[in-house]
C-alpha cells in the first residue's frame, strides 16, 4: 500500500481531512498505515539535491566524532550517558545515512529517523554551542524533519498541527471571528476592574502590534486580557490584527516548510496592512523563533528581518520597566527565592539572556540562577513539539529529569517561564515528579506588582 488514507505524503489542506485525522484516537490507524507507507526514493533524493546545501553538507562532513556534544545534550544526561544519545551519533545514523545512500532507504529506517528526530532531539541547539566546529545538530534535525514530512513520516499531532496552520493560519481551530470576539469578550470582562480597558483590533499606525499563541484565545484568554492590562497601564498605543495574529508554528516543528511560509506571511501581511511601528509577541519561545528569526527567510525577505522591528514579550517588559512606563511597587517585589527558565528558542536563537536578568533585577529580591543558564541553559524537556506528541510521552518524561534537578538545585519554589512550552513542561514535571514548585508567566506576576496610577483605578462607589 503506497499511501494511507490518513498517513500519506499529502499535507492536510481541508477541514474534512483534518477532521478525519482528529477522529483517529491517538493516531492509532495513522501509525498503522505508516507501517505500509512507501518511500518515494526519487522524490526524496530530488528534495535533498535541491535543499541540502553547503552548510549542512560541511557539518556532516567535518564532524570528527569527538563526542563533545554528548555532555551538551540533556537526553544524553537524562539517559545515563547512553552513547546512542550523543548528538553526533544521532544525526550520522539518520540524516547521515540518508545522504550516504542517496535517499535509497526503507520504511522502517524512515520511522527510526522520525523517532530519533522527535524523541531524541528537541532541536534545542545546545550542542551547537559546545561543538568546536560549531556544528548545530538541532538545525540538522529540523532539516531532517522536513525531509520526513515530505515523505509522510511525521507524528500524528504534528500532521494535525501543520494542517491547522494551513486551514486556519493558527495552530488550533480559531477563526478570525472567534479571535476578534475573544478580544471583545476579554475587554468586557476586565473593564470593571480596569476602567477604559480596550483591546483595539486593526488600528492603523499603532506603536505596537501584539500577536499571540492560538492557545490563548482557545483556552486561556485571560492571558490576552493580562497583556491588555499591562499595555493599558503602560500607556501604550497598541493593537491586535484581526488576521495574522498567530505567531506560533507547529509547521516548523513538523517540518512542513510550505505551511511555515504561509503562516509567517499572514503575520507579515498584517504588518504591511496596519503599519505598526513595532511588533510584540506574547510569552512564547518558538513563536518568536518562527516569526522573527526564521520567518523572514521562509518568506524570502532579502533583509532577513521582519517587515517591522519585532520584540519578544520579555524585551517589551524590560523596556517598560527600564523607562518607567511600568513601575514596580517595591513592597510587592517577589520575596521568596525565584528562578527563571531561559527558553532555548529565544536565548540561543536571539540572545535574550541579559534582558531576562534585567527584568529579574526589577521584580525579584532573591533571584536564583539555574546552573547552567542563559545560552547554556538546558531545554525544558518538552521543546521541538515533544510536549504535544503522545507517541513519545515516556521519552519526554525521562528527559524532564534534567530540568527537575536544575530547579531543585536553585532551592526556588517559583519558576518564571515566559514560554508556553516551557510552562507546560515544568507543569508536567511537577505532576510527574512532585517536587513542590509553582510556575508562572510574567504577566500575572507583573499585574500584582505594578503601581497603578490613580486615574486608572476603578472608582469605588
Amino acid at each position: 500500500m503506497p499511501e494511507g488514507k490518513l498517513c500519506n505524503k499529502k499535507p492536510v489542506n481541508t477541514k474534512e481531512e483534518l477532521q478525519a485525522l482528529l477522529t483517529d484516537k491517538s493516531g492509532k490507524q495513522y501509525y498503522e498505515e505508516m507501517n505500509h507507507l512507501d518511500v518515494d526514493r526519487k522524490a526524496l533524493w530530488g528534495t535533498i539535491q535541491k535543499s541540502f546545501k553547503s552548510r549542512l553538507k560541511t557539518w556532516l562532513e567535518i564532524c570528527s566524532h569527538c563526542g563533545l556534544c554528548g555532555e551538551a545534550c540533556f537526553y544524553y544526561l537524562a539517559n545515563n550517558k547512553d552513547p546512542r544519545q550523543v548528538p553526533s551519533y544521532k544525526i550520522q545514523q539518520t540524516l547521515g545515512k540518508i545522504i550516504k545512500r542517496k535517499g535509497d532507504v526503507e520504511n522502517a529506517f524512515m520511522q527510526e529517523c522520525m523517532d530519533t528526530s522527535y524523541a531524541k532531539c528537541t532541536c534545542c541547539t545546545r550542542c551547537g554551542v559546545y561543538c568546536p566546529f560549531g556544528i548545530d545538530t538541532g538545525i540538522m534535525f529540523s532539516y531532517l524533519r522536513g525531509l520526513l514530512f515530505s515523505q509522510g513520516f511525521v507524528p500524528w499531532e504534528m500532521k494535525i498541527g501543520s494542517g491547522m496552520h494551513r486551514i486556519y493560519r493558527a495552530q488550533m481551530d480559531v477563526t478570525v471571528e472567534d479571535w476578534v470576539d475573544t478580544c471583545e469578550w476579554m475587554a468586557e470582562e476586565y473593564e470593571d476592574d480596569w476602567p477604559g480597558l480596550t483591546i483595539p483590533v486593526d488600528k492603523q499606525n499603532a506603536d505596537i502590534m501584539y500577536t499571540v499563541n492560538a492557545r490563548e484565545p482557545k483556552h486561556y484568554p485571560e492571558d490576552i486580557a493580562e497583556a491588555a492590562i499591562l499595555f493599558h497601564v503602560a500607556g501604550e498605543n497598541w493593537t491586535v490584527p484581526s488576521e495574522g495574529w498567530e505567531e506560533t508554528s507547529l509547521a516548523m516543528f513538523g517540518g512542513d516548510w510550505e505551511a511555515c511560509k504561509l503562516q509567517v506571511e499572514s503575520v507579515y501581511a498584517a504588518m504591511d496592512r496596519l503599519k505598526p511601528k513595532r511588533m510584540v509577541v506574547t510569552e512564547c519561545g518558538h513563536a518568536y523563533r518562527a516569526t522573527v528569526i526564521e520567518g523572514p527567510y521562509w518568506a524570502g525577505l532579502k533583509s532577513g528581518k521582519t517587515p517591522v522591528e519585532s520584540l519578544h514579550y520579555v524585551e517589551w517588559v524590560a523596556e517598560a520597566l527600564r523607562t518607567g512606563k511600568l513601575k514596580i511597587d517595591p513592597s510587592k517585589k517577589i520575596k521568596e527565592p525565584v528562578t527563571y527558565q531561559d527558553s532555548c528558542n529565544y536565548v540561543r536563537n536571539a540572545g535574550l539572556g541579559d534582558i531576562a536578568r534585567e527584568i529579574m533585577s526589577y521584580i525579584a529580591e532573591d533571584f536564583r540562577e539555574m546552573s547552567p543558564c542563559r545560552e547554556h541553559n538546558f531545554c525544558c524537556g518538552g521543546g521541538g513539539g515533544l510536549n504535544g506528541i503522545g507517541r513519545y510521552r515516556e521519552q519526554r518524561n525521562i528527559g524532564l529529569k534534567v530540568k527537575r534537578d536544575q530547579i531543585l538545585a536553585t532551592g526556588a519554589k517559583l519558576v518564571i517561564a515566559p514560554c508556553h512550552n516551557c510552562w507546560d513542561a515544568i507543569r508536567d514535571l511537577e505532576e510527574i515528579y512532585k517536587i513542590g514548585i509553582r510556575w508562572s508567566f510574567l504577566k500575572p506576576l507583573l499585574i500584582n506588582m505594578i503601581e497603578v496610577p490613580e486615574e486608572l483605578k476603578p472608582k469605588e462607589e
Binding site: S26, E157, W185, R215, T248, N387, H420
Partner: protein
C-alpha cells in the same frame, strides 16, 4: 425572568442537588436548559492530552470519548431527563470557569446554576474542591448574569419561595443584586429581607469598637437602605430591614437561618481573584459553603438593568 439557563455541572454526585433545582427551573419557568460539563483541563502548550476533572486521569480526547461522556451524563441525569422538555446536554474541553463563562456569554443565559462541593466522600473530592472552589469564584466574579450556587438539597420550588434574603454592603454590584432579588420576590410573591452586616472585624486589630460607634453605623445603614432601596420598590411592601453587627458571613448565615430563607442573594465583587486568597477571604464563598439554602451572586447590571421594578 428565566428563559435560558445554564447548569454547569461536574456530572458527579457533587452536583446532584444543583441538578434538581436546574431541571425544576426549566420546567416551572418554561426555560431552555443547557446542561454543560467541562470535561478536561488542557495543557498550556499544544499537547493532545487533557486531565479529566473528575478522575484526575490523563485522557486523549476524541469524538468517541466526548460521546461516551455525554452518555454518562444521560445516565447520571436519567430520572431528571425523563420529565425534561427543553434541555441540551453538552460537554467541552477547557478550563472550567473559562468555558462556563464562554457558553453563558454565547447563549446570553439569564442565570447560571452550579453545585458546590460539601461532601468529603465524593470521588475526587479534594481535586474537585480545589477546582470548583476557584471555578465558582471566577464564574461568580465575571459572569454577566446571576450565578446561583447550590450545595445542599433544596426542596422548595422557586415559584414557592417565601423568604428571600438580600445581603448588601452598599456597593454598586450589591445594588444590582438588590434589583434582581426584588424582581424575583415580586414575581414569586416572597418576602424580601434586606440585610446589612456592619463589619466589626475590619477596623484596626486590637481596637475595639465602641457601642456608640456601632449604633451610629447601624442607623446610617438603615438610612441608606431606605434611601437606596426602599424608595425604588414602588410600593412593594412585603419586605423587612435588618442590620446586625459582626463578621458579615456569620451574621448573614445566622439571619438566613432565623428567617428560614429560601434564597440568599449577594454581590460577589471582591477584587481579589487569586483563589488561594479569595477562598478564605470572600464572604460569598463562606456563605455558599455553609448556607442551607441556595446562594445567588449578582455582580453586573446586564440582566437586571431593564428589569421593571
Amino acid at each position: 425572568m428565566f428563559k435560558k439557563l445554564l447548569f454547569a455541572t461536574t456530572a458527579s454526585p457533587t452536583c446532584d442537588n444543583a441538578a434538581k433545582v436546574a431541571f425544576d427551573l426549566e420546567l416551572k419557568w418554561d426555560a431552555k436548559l443547557f446542561v454543560f460539563h467541562v470535561l478536561g483541563v488542557p495543557t498550556r502548550g499544544y499537547s493532545p492530552f487533557v486531565t479529566d476533572i473528575r478522575t484526575g486521569e490523563t485522557e486523549q480526547v476524541d469524538p468517541d470519548y466526548i460521546e461516551w461522556v455525554i452518555e454518562e451524563m444521560k445516565n447520571t441525569y436519567g430520572e431528571l431527563l425523563k420529565d425534561s422538555e427543553n434541555s441540551v446536554l453538552e460537554t467541552v474541553v477547557g478550563t472550567p470557569h473559562r468555558e462556563i463563562l464562554r457558553k453563558a456569554r454565547k447563549e446570553n443565559v439569564d442565570m447560571i446554576v452550579m453545585g458546590a462541593h460539601t461532601r468529603e466522600e465524593d470521588v475526587g473530592a479534594t481535586r474537585y474542591r480545589a477546582i470548583a472552589g476557584s471555578t465558582m469564584q471566577k464564574v461568580a466574579k465575571a459572569a454577566r448574569c446571576p450565578v446561583v450556587i447550590i450545595s445542599r438539597p433544596c426542596t422548595t420550588c422557586w415559584k414557592l419561595f417565601s423568604n428571600i434574603v438580600i445581603g448588601t454592603d452598599f456597593s454598586k454590584p450589591a445594588e444590582y443584586a438588590f434589583r434582581w432579588a426584588h424582581k424575583l420576590a415580586k414575581t414569586v410573591g416572597a418576602r424580601l429581607h434586606i440585610f446589612h452586616a456592619f463589619d466589626i472585624s475590619s477596623g484596626n486589630y486590637g481596637q475595639a469598637r465602641g457601642q456608640n460607634e456601632i449604633e451610629e453605623k447601624i442607623e446610617e445603614a438603615r438610612k441608606k437602605i431606605e434611601k437606596n432601596y426602599i424608595s425604588k420598590m414602588k410600593g412593594y411592601d412585603n419586605y423587612s430591614i435588618e442590620i446586625w453587627e459582626g463578621i458579615p458571613y456569620v451574621e448573614i448565615l445566622k439571619f438566613a437561618r432565623e428567617r428560614q430563607a429560601d434564597l440568599i442573594v449577594m454581590a460577589h465583587h471582591t477584587r481579589e481573584i487569586d483563589p488561594k486568597l479569595a477562598e478564605l477571604g470572600s464572604t460569598v464563598e463562606q456563605v455558599v459553603l455553609r448556607a442551607s439554602c441556595p446562594v445567588a451572586s449578582v455582580n453586573h447590571p446586564d440582566k437586571v438593568a431593564d428589569l421593571d421594578i
